[in-house]
């Protein structure tokens, strides 16, 4: 049986590591390559890099970071943020990433999913979703709306409809981020995760809200998630990945415990 994956997320800006709380007030906390290596040694099952570099001209810095990571760590990692074209995807994959993640660019141009899947295989294409809770309406029947630009811009698209469309277009995986829970450390949005995970056939990575190991247990069981993204709870040393994994293992979750 597959193990549930624990995936630290590293936000990178201009080649340096940051962690945003509700996408505001980012502070630098170090070198992404060193941090990735640290998590690799600690037993992370995968690593997600999210490039929040504002200018497109500085993208080469990220590619260089990806190459340095790929020379040191030998588990899968994905790169998202600022990927707008199939050529952007190709560069990141050639630099050594296993997967690329598209978010706003896919909402603006859904064909990037199918083009990417055709060029590199579905397993390479991760759909990043930023979702916000709203009052259910005809347009947003589930009460979960797609947002972009770090949560600032609502798109008038229902999250479930979008997830299913992206799956049809060839997305291999979904990274599902709740804007409401992100940075709160009060737990993942379980209802949202269950809604999406039980209505698509591709794996779902839960994101946003992890504060204690119990939150991961909840989302991997009640939330039906295949993997859980973590950031603050390990970035500042509150927990180690090993502690989280041994907790989950003791609770009966299938987890990779040897590395």
């Amino acid at each position: 049986m597959l193990s549930k994956r624990i995936i630290p997320c590293l936000d990178v800006r201009d080649g340096k590591l940051t962690k945003g709380i509700k996408f505001k007030g980012n502070v630098d906390i170090g070198d992404p390559v060193e941090m990735a290596d640290f998590y690799y040694e600690e037993g992370a099952d995968e690593i997600v890099f999210y490039d929040i570099t504002a200018s497109h001209e500085k993208r080469d810095i990220m590619l260089e970071t990806v190459q340095r990571v790929a020379a040191k760590i030998f588990i899968p990692f994905s790169v998202g943020g600022g990927i707008r074209t199939v050529e952007d995807m190709r560069q990141v994959l050639l630099a050594g990433a296993e997967k690329v993640s598209v978010n706003s660019a896919a909402i603006r141009n859904p064909n990037i999913i199918s083009e990417g899947a055709k060029a590199f295989g579905n397993q390479c294409i991760v759909l990043g979703m930023d979702v916000k809770r709203v009052t259910p309406s005809d347009r947003i029947p589930t009460g979960y709306e797609m947002v972009i630009d770090g949560g600032r811009r609502p798109m008038g698209i229902d999250a479930l409809a979008w997830a299913q469309k992206a799956e049809r277009l060839g997305a291999g995986e979904i990274c599902l981020n709740s804007i409401d829970a992100d940075g709160s450390q009060e737990g993942y949005e379980l209802r949202l995760n269950k809604l999406i995970a039980s209505n698509v056939t591709i794996p779902v990575i839960a994101s946003g809200g992890a504060g204690v190991p119990e939150h991961l247990f909840e989302v991997l069981t009640q939330g039906h998630a295949d993997a859980a993204l973590i950031a603050s709870m390990t970035h500042y040393g509150t927990y180690t990945i090993k502690e989280i994994k041994s907790y989950l293992h003791d609770e009966g979750i299938k987890i990779r415990t040897t590395w």
């Binding site: 049986m1 995986e173 295949d226």
Partner: protein
């Protein structure tokens, strides 16, 4: 020198990066004579079996692999490399190399786990291997180690002696195949952390005989 066979089936640089990390020289090549001259061959790749076979034949690499196997050269197959060594594949109805007897089938879409939850295809993520025999390539690899898989098809060797390890996904399938100087793994050694690197480094030391 280790030849990493390039049949234009995807990104091969990750295998080379892992070898560089281990201090091993390698060359990514689709040249028949370069493959024939190499001391060892790694046969990786992603993609579809039909396309892989088409490109291997077009480049004359099917012969290079068959002759190298017959000549006793150590060969490591990875992922699609583990499927193309079989006789046939359900994927694109492909006739394959036939180094190992048996075929390749797709996972059923309706597979369920013990709790009745539907299993997703592709089989993607970390899973274990139950080893049935010892092999020099797995020396020093803890039996409870897990490996990173990404695949929708799996090999079914006819000879049970060729099955070195099995993985449970819906049912048990042969995830490690070994015969003589050939060893093939369905998972990605280059993405499986330290246990994966250990297999690669064991391969670099391997003479091609199944007991070191």
């Amino acid at each position: 020198m280790i030849a990493i066979i390039d049949y234009e089936a995807g990104n091969l640089t990750s295998v080379q990066r892992a070898l560089s990390f281990l201090g091993q020289e390698s060359v990514i090549t689709s040249d028949f004579s370069e493959v024939m001259q190499a001391e060892k061959i790694i046969f990786p790749g992603v993609g579809a079996a039909g396309k892989a076979m088409f490109d291997l034949k077009r480049l004359g690499l099917d012969k290079a692999l068959t002759e190298s196997y017959g000549g006793g050269k150590p060969i490591l197959g990875i992922c699609i490399g583990t499927q193309v060594i079989m006789e046939w594949s359900e994927e694109n109805d492909a006739q394959c190399l036939g180094l190992i007897k048996g075929g390749v089938r797709r996972f059923h879409e309706e597979m369920v786990d013990r709790d009745g939850k539907r299993l997703k295809v592709p089989h993607m993520g970390w899973n274990g291997v139950a080893f049935k025999q010892d092999h020099p390539l797995f020396e020093g690899v803890a039996p409870e180690s897990e490996f990173y898989f990404v695949h929708s098809y799996y090999p079914m060797p006819e000879e049970s002696e060729a099955v070195l390890g099995e993985t449970d996904y819906g049912s048990r399938f042969a995830s490690v195949i070994a015969k003589e100087n050939l060893c093939a793994v369905q998972f990605h050694v280059e993405k499986s952390g330290r246990p994966g690197l250990r297999i690669l480094s064991n391969f670099c030391e391997w003479s091609g005989r199944d007991n070191a």
